[in-house]
């Protein structure tokens, strides 16, 4: 992948990680399922997705983040 394209894609993933981070906020109602409010499931799911994005950036895009 050309360096410029890789850098642009890395920036997109970095921005996406911030969008996902802010999507962790409690958006759903609090109907309990297994003793846990519904919004927690979505929030925790987004948290796990955020972790995946950070690990991807760290492990695969560290050099691109350091370029430029």
């Amino acid at each position: 992948m050309p360096k410029q394209t890789k850098r642009a894609k890395t920036t997109t993933v970095l921005l996406l990680s911030f969008v996902v981070l802010f999507c962790t906020l409690p958006l759903l109602d609090s109907t309990p399922y297994f003793g846990i409010p519904l919004w927690v499931y979505l929030s925790f799911g987004m948290t796990l997705l955020y972790v995946v994005l950070l690990v991807f950036l760290l492990e695969k895009r560290w050099d691109a983040l350091g370029d430029g």
Partner: protein, 482 residues
């Protein structure tokens, strides 16, 4: 042992041996040092491999507050404190904004402190001085609050055998001894032990609580009966608070000077990125279990006040003392709490001493050699620790509020660091104006009768927004008239 002590005789011996081992590690750090230089003393010769680097980052980031304060917050706020897991992960996201660019620069130009980078990037003594002053203020606050916490813990678990004041003095002396013996090496090696103790302690306590108190699903009926507030649907103000906390933490904690020092201390880039990858996973294995424990505690022990809620884990464990081996689990919890606090205080002390030595003293005495500077740094560590101990014991609670807003103030240095590595054209004047605007507006909101959380946002978050905006405006203005 004093009456009412939570720790058994064996527990006290375990704690004493653990503390003694820290002094021995201090000597090991001294023998391992290669030269008397600031780089060797404050960065361990920039040779930390993945195990030590990851564990020192982990132990430093998880303070006594993470173990005790977070549990109290989760007890009071229920599942809303899931934000604690998110923001501990997001700190690594904050590092990603500058570390990949800052690390190679630090290697090339031999940076030791955050002030070194600011001086290199902006060539402004005024900007460097303000950032160093803000950093020292924030770190001093960090030391003070954690020293107070360790005094309370020792007094509580020893049943008054250690008074609050003597508990602080005792722990402070141990920390300053091993720090002055081996510098960053000793601090990082003791952090490694403390990190293992913290991680192992939390997981074992989580297992014990799940077995004896049940999972959230098993406590569902009890939640609705004793903690119905946990099932109120979050409102707009809750969502604003959530976002505000995330912004404050991402920009505040990720620029802690001791965290930046650990980035500089990495042996190479793969070591640094692998350590940060592991750091991303740790909130799921440390903060989340603590929050679940405290929430289950709220179902079983409702109506505790703020102080009692911060002891919820100890309370839950102390009700299980009829079970064989529980004194070991309680000892483990106390040791983990002490370890979490010590690893935070020692790192903050090392960072304060390095900032003073490199960014203040070395500027006044540019002819001083490395051996002399290292010696001055050690003397300063003793002085700053003595001052912090005196303040932690004597500071009246009426002025305690003055130092509670460290994060909101520290976050204001983030633009100087993040824009410094990304935006080559931005001058020190733009950053200075932004810093003045950010600090000024934050302090105005915090220190006057104006609302400290306008529209639900923390003063520091609004200050940070203004900070970035003023930097941008000034930069555009300068470009226009150039």
């Amino acid at each position: 042992m004093a009456e009412g002590a939570l720790l058994s005789q064996g527990g006290i011996w375990f704690l004493a041996l653990y503390l003694l081992s820290l002094i021995l590690i201090g000597f090991a750090g001294k023998f391992a040092s290669k030269e008397e230089s600031l780089q060797d003393f404050y960065l361990g010769g920039r040779g930390f491999g993945i195990t030590v680097l990851f564990l020192t980052m982990y132990a430093t980031q998880y303070s006594g507050n993470s173990l005790i304060g977070f549990a109290g917050s989760a007890y009071r706020n229920g599942w809303f404190f899931l934000v604690g897991v998110v923001f501990m992960i997001a700190i690594v996201g904050g590092y990603l904004l500058y570390a990949p660019k800052l690390y190679p620069l630090s290697k090339k130009h031999a940076f030791i402190t955050v002030g070194d980078f600011i001086e290199f990037r902006y060539s402004s003594r005024l900007l460097t001085s303000i950032i160093v002053a803000v950093s020292i203020l924030a770190l001093s606050n960090y030391m003070l609050t954690n020293l107070k916490a360790i005094g309370y813990i020792l007094e509580h678990v020893s049943g008054g055998f250690f008074s609050f004041g003597w508990g602080i003095v005792f722990m402070a002396v141990i920390m300053v001894i091993y720090e002055t013996l081996g510098g960053m090496r000793s601090v990082a090696w003791t952090d490694a032990i403390q990190g293992v103790l913290l991680f192992g302690g939390v997981l074992i306590i989580f297992g014990v609580i799940m077995i004896h108190y049940g999972t959230p699903a098993e406590n569902a009926a009890l939640f609705l009966q004793n903690a119905p507030r946990f099932f109120e649907t979050p409102m707009l103000e809750d969502q604003i608070t959530w976002i505000s906390i995330l912004v404050l933490i991402v920009f505040g904690i990720s620029v802690y000077p001791q965290a930046i020092q650990r980035i500089y201390a990495a042996k190479d880039a793969p070591t640094l990125k692998r350590s940060l990858t592991l750091m991303t996973l740790m909130p799921l294995l440390t903060t989340l279990p603590l929050i679940v424990i405290a929430i289950i505690g709220a179902a079983h022990f409702p109506d505790l006040d703020k102080t009692q809620s911060e002891q919820i884990i100890l309370l839950m464990l102390s009700k299980l003392t009829h079970i064989e081996g529980m004194d070991i689990v309680i000892t483990l919890f106390v040791a983990a709490a002490v370890a979490a606090i010590m690893s935070t205080v020692d790192s903050a002390m090392l960072a304060v001493a390095s900032l003073f030595t490199k960014d203040v003293y070395a500027k006044v005495r540019p002819d001083a050699d490395q051996k002399h500077l290292t010696f001055v740094g050690k003397i300063f560590s003793w002085l700053v620790m003595a001052l912090m101990v005196a303040l932690a014991i004597e500071l009246p609670s009426t002025i305690w509020w003055l130092i509670q807003f460290k994060l909101e103030v520290l976050a204001q240095i983030a633009p100087a660091i993040i824009l410094g590595v990304h935006a080559k054209g931005i001058s020190h004047r733009s950053v200075l104006w932004g810093l003045f605007a950010g600090l000024g507006s934050t302090l105005l909101l915090l220190l006057t009768s104006l609302p400290s959380k306008p529209f639900g946002f923390h003063a520091g978050v609004l200050g940070l927004g203004l900070n970035f905006f003023v930097v941008y405006l000034h930069h555009r203005f300068m470009l226009h008239f150039r």
